[in-house]
């Protein structure tokens, strides 16, 4: 069986790496003899693939060790300087941060505790969540649902509630 162009394309890496089986190699040769496009593709592909394998032969610069030592000493200096700053800052700011957190906590608690409980929204939320479903439904609650479509599920539910109440 002779290989087709698609099979050649799929085998290009194997061809470039000389890992194609002997039996397939014969089929490949037959195809390449008759197909100039594939022959050219194989040639170009192999050339570039072999280059990928070799990589670039470059070495680090001669100043590598000197630069490394400079980085090391710079880092050591920075480490000591940062450590001093950090210790000083911690002594100074830790009590301040604690006091600030405490005050912020008290203020936040006060604000949360002062949220008005008798607003329409709170009541509606309470009713929807099912907490007060059995309680008599007040007028302001209905006012907020004036626009519900007649004949809808809401209409049926609220009408039955009103009927029960009456």
């Amino acid at each position: 069986m002779v290989m087709d162009c698609i099979a050649v394309e799929k085998s290009l890496v194997a061809i470039a790496e000389n890992s194609i089986p002997e039996r397939r190699l014969k089929e490949l040769r037959l195809h390449l003899e008759s197909c100039s496009n594939c022959s050219l593709l194989v040639k170009r592909f192999t050339k570039i693939w072999q280059k990928i394998g070799r990589g670039e032969q470059i070495e680090p610069s001669s100043s590598f060790w000197i630069e490394l030592q400079q980085k090391m000493s710079a880092r050591e200096e920075r480490k000591f300087w940062l450590a001093d700053v950090f210790i000083g800052a911690r002594r100074l700011f830790r009590p301040a941060a604690l006091v600030f957190t405490l005050i912020a906590g008290i203020f936040a608690g006060y604000q949360i505790g002062n949220v008005p409980q008798d607003s329409g929204t709170a009541r509606i939320e309470g009713k929807i969540s099912g907490a007060n479903l059995e309680e008599p439904i007040s007028a302001p609650y209905f006012e907020s649902f004036e626009d519900y479509p007649k004949g809808s599920v809401t209409d049926f539910y609220l009408s039955s509630k009103i009927d029960k109440k009456e």
Partner: protein, 191 residues
């Protein structure tokens, strides 16, 4: 001096021992970083960071693997981190200069002269093409492929460096080859 003695001395902040380690592994670290990053200056910076990390964490090395494996691992991780950080930076740059700007990052191969057959033969353009192909790979595939193809490590060694199973390494290299094959074919067909 064997690896264990060398590391013991480095842990004790012996500069001569550290110099010996740098001399011994400088080439390995630099080439790994360069093959992954593709830029000499950046690779050198990252290689120096690798040695600084080794100096700092030498006492943490437990001798469960070879010293070279550990150094490869640090090099790969550092280089991949650099690529990730740099990608974010390049992305921001590309946004900054997007509308019709000539300096924006162009897709792979666009700088090549695709009208000429001879262009591909030119060394610099071929290097650029290879770099574009490698950069188009997902980072895990790229790391496994480069360690195998360029650093010449066996699948088992790569598995130890990347701390994954042998089958994972095989799969990553296989997928990398398929992806490279597809990219290179489409590039060659445009010429």
């Amino acid at each position: 001096m064997n690896d264990q003695e060398l590391l013991q001395k480095i842990t004790a902040k012996d500069q001569n021992a550290f110099k010996e380690l740098v001399d011994r592994f400088q080439s390995l670290v630099f080439h790994t970083c360069f093959n992954l990053i593709g830029n000499r200056e950046h690779a050198e910076d990252v290689a120096q960071e690798v040695f600084l990390q080794i100096y700092k964490t030498a006492k943490k090395f437990r001798h469960e693997c070879k010293l070279s494996t550990w150094i490869y691992r640090i090099s790969v991780n550092r280089a991949l981190n650099f690529i990730r950080d740099n990608r974010k930076f390049r992305w921001l740059q590309s946004i900054d200069s997007f509308p019709g700007d000539e300096t924006r990052i162009t897709p792979a191969f666009s700088s090549l002269n695709l009208n000429s057959h001879d262009a591909l033969m030119r060394e610099n353009e071929r290097k650029e093409l290879i770099r574009s192909l490698l950069d188009s790979l997902p980072e895990k595939q790229k790391a496994a492929f480069i360690l195998h193809k360029m650093s010449g490590l066996s699948y088992q060694e790569i598995a130890e460096v990347l701390e994954v199973s042998l089958s994972t390494v095989e799969a990553r290299i296989h997928r990398a080859k398929i992806n490279l094959q597809k990219a290179l074919i489409s590039c060659l067909k445009k010429i």
